[in-house]
């Protein structure tokens, strides 16, 4: 019978040092833009649409949609609003509560 071990868990001073020096704001930014791209992907899948169909509907180049989905794109509020409208989803919710 073959042995089925888990992989050895690994880290290193090089990885640790690189992670330690990352700005927490940058971490949050990358995380949010990836979550937005994942949400767009989920919406496309649930509607059975291709990236090209969304691009056509929004009169954008397909490469623009690829960029949105890459997880690297810094979205403007205008783009967010247009995607929300065309996909019928909410990507960002802002509290209407007034901060005094």
């Amino acid at each position: 019978m073959k042995t089925m071990n888990e992989a050895r868990k690994y880290t290193s001073p090089i990885i640790q040092e690189a992670l330690r020096n990352i700005d927490p704001t940058r971490r949050e930014m990358v995380r949010r833009r990836m979550m937005i791209s994942a949400r767009i992907d989920d919406a496309l899948k649930s509607k059975g649409w291709t990236q090209k169909q969304l691009a056509d509907m929004m009169e954008k180049r397909p490469s623009e949609v690829t960029k949105w989905l890459s997880g690297n794109h810094n979205f403007t509020l205008e783009t967010i609003a247009l995607i929300e409208k065309n996909l019928g989803i909410t990507l960002i919710t802002v509290s209407e509560e007034v901060i005094i």
Binding site: K2, T3, M4, N5, E6, A7, R8, K9, Y10, T11, S12, I14, I15, Q16, A18, L19, N21, I22, D23, R26, R27, V30, R31, M34, M35, S37, A38, D41, T66, K67, L69, S70, G71, N72
Partner: protein, 165 residues
């Protein structure tokens, strides 16, 4: 060639198992080499790639749209993580669906085809060979997935049989 597949403690998470490779019983992984070689010059870009991997492991999983796919030969799963389409850092990896990735090396791409850059070509072709050997191990039943579908289990130290012939 002999190598060990190790799980990256800082990146593996609920959504995806994140691995790299240590060659020939060395002390550093391919992923360590990638950070060491590129971080001094491309600090912000490397930070973004590290954060992207962290988010893949814990939040999004290794969804196809987050990668440049088809960076190897047919069916070998080689793809690339990149910081930004306008910037040019490439980290080659082997992607198994959205649940498991094995990180290799990479570098700065300022050529049209990776074959035009000796460093990128070396890193990419090394990972192609690693992918081929892992595929053989999977076919032989020496490596498989744990019941969570994300973690690799089995004999994760692989020796190329051709070395002994």
């Amino acid at each position: 060639m002999k190598f060990e597949i190790v799980e990256l403690l800082d990146f593996s998470g609920y959504k995806a198992g994140i691995y790299t490779v240590i060659l020939n019983e060395g002390s550093q992984s391919l992923f360590d080499n990638f950070i060491q070689e590129n971080r001094p010059k491309f600090s912000a870009e490397i930070d973004d790639i590290l954060l992207k991997i962290e988010t893949i492991g814990h939040v999004t999983g290794a969804r196809e749209h987050l990668f440049k796919i088809n960076e190897g030969t047919l069916g070998d799963g080689i793809c690339a993580l990149y910081d930004n389409p306008d910037k040019k850092i490439r980290l080659y990896c082997i992607r198994y669906g959205s649940t498991t990735i094995i990180l290799g090396g990479g570098g700065y791409k300022d050529v049209r085809a990776l074959q035009d850059d000796p460093k990128l070509k070396h890193e990419n072709y090394l990972l192609r060979e690693i992918s081929r050997l892992i595929t053989e191990s999977i076919k032989d039943g020496d490596i498989t997935w744990a019941s969570d579908g994300k973690r690799l289990i089995g004999n994760l130290t692989i020796q190329d049989d051709e070395d002994n012939e």
